[in-house]
């Protein structure tokens, strides 16, 4: 039977994840907490906090500062803790990613750059740097007339759950900028599948 990396995680794997070099903005934990509060209430958030404690890396979501830097591995630990606390599948993690830009202060501050698709594509590298100190993002394929583009994330290999979250996240940003009722996103290349980078393909009508 094929192993689903989202379902199984060992203590060694958790430590490997936590020790990934690089930092992430606190806002990612804020958006996680906001989503949990919305869906599962205060008890749900307490459950997640307990899970992070069980995983050996306690996250006190209420004390996180959106603009401060935190270990990038903690970002994945937060997602894994949430998934384990509620038994969620990829679908819920994707929806959480899609929700995050709605409440992220950094997104709201940076959205002034996302006023047109062309401009957004130009600003995307700057956008990534506001959130992560590792990896880089680019747009190697941009075909507005044919209604497709590719966003590439390089230099970041932590855990596949992050890819699921990012898919939802990028889709929300696309929904803000592309005037279309039907936008689709697919991860067509993934470092965890042996590819050299993550490629997210966007199609719209």
């Amino acid at each position: 039977m094929k192993k689903n990396p989202l379902n199984e995680i060992t203590k060694e794997e958790i430590e490997r994840i936590f020790e990934t070099p690089g930092k992430v903005r606190g806002v990612v934990f804020f958006t996680d907490a906001k989503y949990i509060l919305e869906k599962k209430g205060k008890e749900g958030l307490e459950k997640v906090k307990e899970e992070t404690k069980r995983m050996g890396h306690f996250i006190d979501y209420q004390k996180i500062n959106s603009f401060e830097w935190y270990p990038v591995g903690l970002r994945v630990i937060s997602l894994l803790a949430i998934k384990r606390a509620f038994g969620w599948s990829e679908k819920e993690i994707f929806e959480m990613g899609n929700y995050a830009p709605k409440v992220s202060i950094i997104v709201k501050l940076l959205l002034k750059y996302f006023i047109s698709l062309k401009r957004s594509v130009q600003e995307v590298p700057r956008y990534w740097r506001k959130h992560y100190t590792i990896g880089k993002i680019s747009c190697p394929e941009f075909h507005e007339d044919e209604k497709w583009l590719v966003i590439r994330v390089e230099g970041i290999k932590i855990h596949p759950i992050l890819c699921v979250h990012l898919r939802g996240y990028f889709l929300r940003i696309a929904q803000y900028v592309i005037k279309s009722k039907k936008i689709e996103i697919k991860e067509v290349k993934c470092i965890h599948r042996g590819d050299p980078y993550h490629d997210f393909l966007f199609n719209w009508e």
């Binding site: 919305e38 959106s66 709605k102 202060i105 959205l111 006023i115 929904q175 803000y176 900028v177």
Partner: protein, 197 residues
């Protein structure tokens, strides 16, 4: 001062400045959040594609939605289907602002409410960043205005009737007086005739 210690001092100063900026950002974030929570009127901020990026709590009440059912959605979704949203878009793009425009909004429960809309473009360095929209619920006010108008019309009709009746009464009184006078004169003539016979 050696180059090494100078470098350390500069790094320390840079770190200190960064911490100050970080603290300011944190305070600014808290201020912005508190301000949007406080706003006692229904306000939202949309991007140039009219996707709602931020909304006041009061807009939740107005539209009978949660804030998460509002943020991320297009403003057009909260207007009735037959409403010409493109015309509104065109108007705000051309005039840069809208003041006291009366339109209907559609709540989550499909109830229509009449609102007075205010809108303002947000421009930075000559580039359009988005729009602020404010909605004042005038449904009750319009209802009261309608009721008041109906009462006034009713009173005017009543007044016409009563005035008409009054005039008729005056006419009748005058006719009665005239008739009484004629009767008196007739009686006089009759009695005079009887006397002479």
């Amino acid at each position: 001062m050696s180059p090494g210690s100078k470098k350390k001092r500069l790094e320390k100063e840079s770190f200190f400045r960064e911490q100050l900026l970080l603290n300011d950002l944190i305070k600014l974030e808290a201020y912005i959040k508190a301000f949007w929570q406080f706003l006692p009127i229904a306000v939202c901020y949309v991007n140039p594609a009219f996707n709602i990026l931020e909304a006041s709590k009061t807009l939740e009440v107005l539209l009978n939605c949660t804030i998460m059912e509002i943020i991320g959605h297009n403003l057009k979704e909260f207007f009735p289907r037959e409403f010409d949203f493109e015309a509104l878009e065109k108007e705000i793009k051309e005039k840069k602002k809208i003041t006291q425009k009366e339109i209907e909004l559609l709540r989550k429960d499909k109830k229509r409410i009449l609102v007075s809309v205010f809108a303002l473009s947000r421009i930075e360095d000559r580039v359009l960043m988005g729009y602020f929209f404010a909605f004042l619920d005038i449904t009750e006010r319009k209802k009261m205005e309608k009721e008041l108008r109906e009462r006034i019309e009713e009173l005017e009709r009543f007044q016409k009737l009563t005035v008409g009746r009054e005039l008729k009464m005056v006419e009748l009184k005058q006719a009665l007086k005239k008739a009484q006078k004629e009767i008196l004169e007739l009686r006089k003539k009759l009695s005079q005739k009887v006397k002479t016979q």
